[in-house]
């Protein structure tokens, strides 16, 4: 799995296809500060309804297609609870997700 990411929004972004993002949450680490939601430049995240072990609402991904993998959410998170990876291809990602689903 590639961990390559783009820190800044390239000026010629429109010409290129935005890579698919895999936004990973470690929900039980989240302390609910909301920085990732508030400071995401593309409004990818929102507060979720679920309550984690810390009694806060971790973020949820609402606009995954908008994510440019800028990584700001990952960089600003004080709790190492969110990070973004570039999805190599749809197929593999689904498998991963399913696998994780099953583990739950």
């Amino acid at each position: 799995m590639s961990t390559k990411k783009l820190w800044r929004k390239p000026l010629d972004i429109e010409k290129f296809k935005v890579p698919k993002a895999e936004i990973c949450l470690i929900k039980d680490r989240c302390k609910g500060c909301g920085y990732c939601i508030q400071f995401c430049p593309r409004q990818v995240l929102e507060e979720s309804e679920e309550i984690n072990v810390r009694g806060v609402h971790p973020p949820k991904v609402v606009n995954p297609e908008k994510c440019t993998i800028c990584g700001f959410c990952e960089a600003i998170c004080p709790d190492f609870a969110i990070f973004v990876l570039e999805k190599p291809n749809e197929k593999k990602e689904t498998k991963e997700a399913e696998k994780n689903e099953r583990k739950k």
Binding site: C24, Y35, P64, P78
Partner: protein
């Protein structure tokens, strides 16, 4: 579905000491972001972690040394700098980084700061400035703004705060920068620069303390802090540090000093080379 509750380890996990996350800091505390930014800098620099020593003092941010997967030491209150000086001089190959708070570094440890800077000893000092003594319950400190309410300034602070970048510059630091925890990218870049630079480097990170100072000062929540930072921050690279006072209206941020000056270690090495061979006998 793009979102997942991941089983994949956070990419910064190798830079954090096992089993220490979640850390002890409050929700929205800037110290977590500083830790994040610091280990990101280590990762991006691809430095040999064996040669990094993280030294901290007392206070919330003092716990940071325990979280980094490097050699680390959590000293007594105010003393991380002289401890770090001992480490650096005993083994100049090490990259010695002090990460501590405004109270630790500039009240009880103020004397150590100015002298380490004056000597230009090649340690890097990162200060989490949250305007108060958070861990002990929010007392006034050397950076508490004038008129601000804290646990020990119930009628408002009557002391003028330090302008830390000015103090660092005047004391002789060769690299001085200030960012807020909102400027994560720039913070990381400054940390990388400091780590690579010879000589005494100082980075002030203006940081939210929502649970303690936020309540006492009526600044409010973590988000209120961040919105203040967003609104008030003005990047003024290489402007006069004397003019860089933090006010409610304006937080001047940026790089203030980046100069070259022989380090203590270099001069020591030269002096030692000269002294070798000259033996003072007994009587």
């Amino acid at each position: 579905m793009a979102e997942q509750t991941t089983q994949i380890a956070h990419p910064l996990e190798p830079f954090l000491r096992k089993t220490t996350i979640p850390h002890i800091w409050c929700p929205g505390c800037g110290d977590g972001t500083i830790l994040n930014s610091f280990v990101t800098a280590l990762k991006e620099l691809e430095v040999n972690l064996d040669k990094i020593a993280v030294i901290s003092g007392i206070g919330c941010i003092g716990r940071i040394a325990g979280y980094t997967n490097t050699d680390s030491f959590h000293t007594t209150h105010g003393r991380p700098i002289p401890f770090a000086v001992g480490v650096k001089l005993a083994n100049p190959e090490l990259n010695v980084i002090v990460i501590s708070g405004d109270g630790d570094l500039f009240a009880i440890g103020g004397n150590h700061f100015i002298h380490a800077a004056r000597r230009n000893i090649g340690i890097k000092v990162i200060c989490s400035n949250n305007f108060n003594y958070g861990m002990t319950g929010g007392q006034q400190g050397p950076t508490t703004p004038l008129a601000s309410r804290t646990a020990t300034t119930p009628f408002g602070n009557i002391e003028h705060p330090f302008n830390l970048v000015h103090l660092a510059a005047a004391s002789g630091a060769v690299y001085v920068a200030r960012w807020t925890t909102l400027h994560v990218r720039r913070m990381t870049e400054s940390i990388k620069k400091a780590i690579q630079k010879e000589g005494f480097s100082f980075i002030e990170i203006v940081s939210p303390c929502p649970e303690i100072y936020g309540k006492a000062s009526k600044i409010g929540t973590a988000m209120d802090f961040m919105n203040w930072f967003k609104k008030a921050s003005v990047i003024q690279n290489f402007s006069d540090p004397a003019q860089a006072e933090i006010t409610a209206e304006k937080i001047p941020v940026g790089e203030f000093v980046d100069v070259e000056k022989p380090t203590f270690e270099k001069l020591l090495r030269e002096m030692t080379a000269q002294a070798q061979g000259k033996v003072t006998g007994g009587a």
